[in-house]
């Protein structure tokens, strides 16, 4: 029977099938961070259990870490306590720990791939919904709850019913100023935030084939925002080239053996999906969101839809626009903004900083804009310096901060004040996501850069 990429990876990790129940599903790689793991370790302790395969779990601190003065003790006692718990738990159970200050520290979904922990055909979980990022490598990767973190620690398995499968095809060349982020925001705007719930998505078509690994990671990262458990892209030479010689990638004969297997990870020609959607790249322009969920996005030159024109409840829609301080049919171009955030597991990689720098080069940050430029890892930070991007952004009036999740979820001090507007390259524009009362406009690094130098929502194509 013909199988999809998803079927091949899923089926090869089922330890046991339970009739009218979930599959016992083996996990190859497990990432943990300071926020969703402490209660899982407490659970192990209460039950007297050990970690079954500590070498398959990797700890990094990212969610609540400060993005300045990381050499000083963390001021917030609760955050400091969580960071300490991660360190202690990792040490006690023999788990690799890249804590604050470690040279490999950074956002879990940035450091995993850049160190070769992620690989094609793997099953990868983390107590974080954006674990879907790793699907870019042809892995099945998804977020889990803390109870499941405890299961993975103690048995390397979770119990999951197999999701349905969906394929999303996008073909054609991307227009000027259109980035992987725009492709993802476009798809979410078509599907809504629940359009792929219950499905695992495969992205196919030349738009994805022609993307770099970083672009693919941005797309797969946002799969959860359309409700999908995860999204994946078949591994190819781009994937293998990225992974070759990464610190934890297989080496020598093991590498050759692995690549030979990875090359078989493709959807068979006559596979039927439970749902299949196709879009043309020509429909996609630089995107921006205007509401309080990632599905509320439009091409930047378009007007905010009227309540009657959108699916779903009018009351919920109007509440959302009221929160944002926007009106139906408003144009987004020219809306004043107060903050810009470049970073997160969605857009905190080197290509995102290159894109941002390409727009701000030779220009100046708008006076009234506060900008937070936060690399996804120390490795990204180092590259920014090596490539001369730091000089470009510094000359333009910006400051580079230190790695972490930062203002994406505002668990640290990087909070957007109530009522203020932030153009953000992150992944969620929920009410209060970037600080109580904050208003988020999700967009690509190019759109963020254009807003940062003009102080208003601006079409980046005008500045390229």
């Amino acid at each position: 029977m013909s199988k999809s990429l998803f079927d091949k990876v899923w089926d090869s990790h089922v330890v046991r099938k339970i009739e009218d129940g979930p599959d016992v599903f083996f996990i190859d790689r497990h990432f943990i961070h300071e926020v969703t793991s402490p209660v899982a370790f407490l659970g192990l302790k209460n039950r007297g259990l050990n970690v079954m395969y500590p070498e398959r779990t990797f700890a990094t601190a990212d969610h609540n870490t400060p993005t300045i003065n990381q050499h000083l003790p963390v001021e917030d006692p609760l955050s400091a306590n969580q960071l300490k718990a991660l360190e202690d738990n990792s040490k006690e159970h023999g788990i690799s720990h890249w804590g604050l200050g470690h040279e490999k520290n950074g956002i879990v979904h940035v450091v995993g791939p850049e160190n070769g922990i992620t690989f094609p055909g793997a099953t990868i979980v983390c107590g974080d919904s954006h674990t879907s990022t790793h699907g870019a490598f042809g892995a099945i990767a998804f977020g889990i709850g803390t109870s499941e973190v405890e299961m993975v620690l103690s048995t390397q398995c979770i119990m999951q019913p197999k999701p349905k499968k969906m394929r999303i095809n996008v073909n054609g060349a991307l227009g000027k100023g259109v980035t992987p982020k725009d492709v993802a925001l476009f798809i979410i705007s078509k599907l809504t935030t629940s359009g792929a719930t219950g499905y695992f998505v495969e992205y196919a078509g030349d738009v994805f084939e022609n993307m770099t690994m970083e672009g693919r990671m941005t797309v797969c990262n946002l799969s959860i925002e359309m409700g999908a458990r995860g999204g994946m892209i078949a591994p190819d030479d781009t994937t293998f080239e990225y992974l070759k010689d990464k610190p934890l990638s297989p080496k020598g004969d093991k590498w050759d053996e692995a690549v030979a297997y990875w090359k078989t990870l493709k959807t068979d020609a006559d596979t039927v999906f439970d749902k299949e959607l196709t879009f043309a790249s020509s429909e996609i322009e630089p995107m921006i969101t205007y509401g309080t969920n990632p599905g509320m996005g439009i091409g930047i030159s378009n007007n905010i839809p009227s309540a009657e024109a959108v699916e779903g409840g009018v009351a919920t829609y109007k509440k959302s626009l009221e929160y944002m301080g926007y009106g139906e049919n408003d144009t987004m171009i020219g809306k004043k903004i107060d903050y810009v955030f470049l970073g997160s597991c969605t857009n905190g990689r080197i290509e995102d900083f290159r894109a941002f720098a390409s727009i701000v080069k030779g220009k100046q940050k708008a006076d009234h804009v506060t900008a937070w430029l936060v690399p996804g890892s120390h490795e990204v930070e180092d590259k920014i310096k090596e490539e001369g991007l730091l000089d470009i952004i510094t000359d333009a009036g910006f400051v580079l901060r230190q790695p972490g999740c930062s203002a994406c979820l505002a668990m640290n001090d990087d909070k957007v004040p109530a009522g203020k507007y932030a153009v953000s390259t992150s992944n969620r524009n929920f009410e209060g996501r970037q600080g109580p009362g904050s208003r988020t406009l999700l967009a690509s690094p190019l759109v963020a850069a254009a807003a940062a130098v003009t102080g208003v929502v601006t079409d980046p194509r005008d500045l390229l």
Binding site: V15, R16, E19, D20, G21, P22, F26, D28, V35, T36, P38, V39, L42, G43, R47, L49, Y53, H63, D76, L78, S79, N81, A85, A122, D128, S129, T131, G143, I144, G145, S147, E148, E150, M151, S154, T155, C157, M159, P161, P163, T193, S194, T197, G227, Y261, N293, G312, G313, A315, T316, K319, L409, A410, M411, R428, F430, E431, G432, R433, G437
Partner: protein, 198 residues
């Protein structure tokens, strides 16, 4: 950890007829800093319940004393967003044992099942009937019968069945969790792991 058994729950309900209620509303990220599973109910819907100065927002349903009970009824796509189990803990810790909606986000639904909160998915029509019944009488009782997989609005007698796989149903009825199951098959897991390339 094993949790409370769930059998038949009869209770009044708290209506929250909004769609896409996301996990950042259920529990904002800044309240995720505990290292123990305690006190999350205090911050359930924090920014909808309280103003910036910690005074109550009178118009939010949890602050309206006429609505109470162990069943939370929400609009379509309840629990979208983050994988934080803290959202399910907050719902549980506040006192809810069941969440009813016409559609749930996957991870939230899974998290609820893993801690003993029953997610009941009903048709959009039935959901509207529940809201109507609760708005007509805040004390209107809803019966959630897990063995029969049926939900009933007592005042009108309207009933609908709901889905749950038989494995999870047995877990909920008995208060078992997945770790209990997995611990018993560790030998099988080890054999599987030994056959892996990486």
């Amino acid at each position: 950890m094993a949790y409370d058994k769930f059998n038949i729950l009869t209770s009044s309900a708290v209506p929250l007829p909004l769609e896409n209620v996301d996990t950042d509303q259920i529990i904002p990220a800044r309240f995720l800093k505990a290292t123990e599973r305690k006190g999350f109910g205090d911050n359930l819907f924090r920014d909808w319940r309280y103003n910036g100065d910690d005074s109550l927002k009178e118009d939010f349903v949890l602050n309206n004393p006429i609505y109470k009970g162990q069943i939370l009824v929400g609009g379509k796509n309840f629990g979208s967003g983050s994988s934080r189990e803290h959202a399910a803990w907050a719902v549980y810790d506040y006192g809810f044992r069941c969440v009813v909606s016409s559609f749930f986000a996957d991870i939230f639904k899974n998290n609820c099942l893993n801690i003993g909160v029953l997610p009941v998915q009903v048709s959009p029509e039935f959901l509207k009937q529940i809201f109507d019944a609760v708005y007509e009488d805040a004390n209107a009782e809803i019966e959630v019968n897990l063995p029969e997989q049926a939900i009933t609005i007592k005042s009108t007698g309207a009933q609908e069945s709901f889905d749950i796989n038989s494995y999870k149903k047995q877990n909920m009825l008995n208060g078992f969790d997945d770790i209990d199951y997995l611990q018993n098959i560790k030998g099988e897991i080890e054999t599987f792991a030994n056959g892996l390339m990486l």
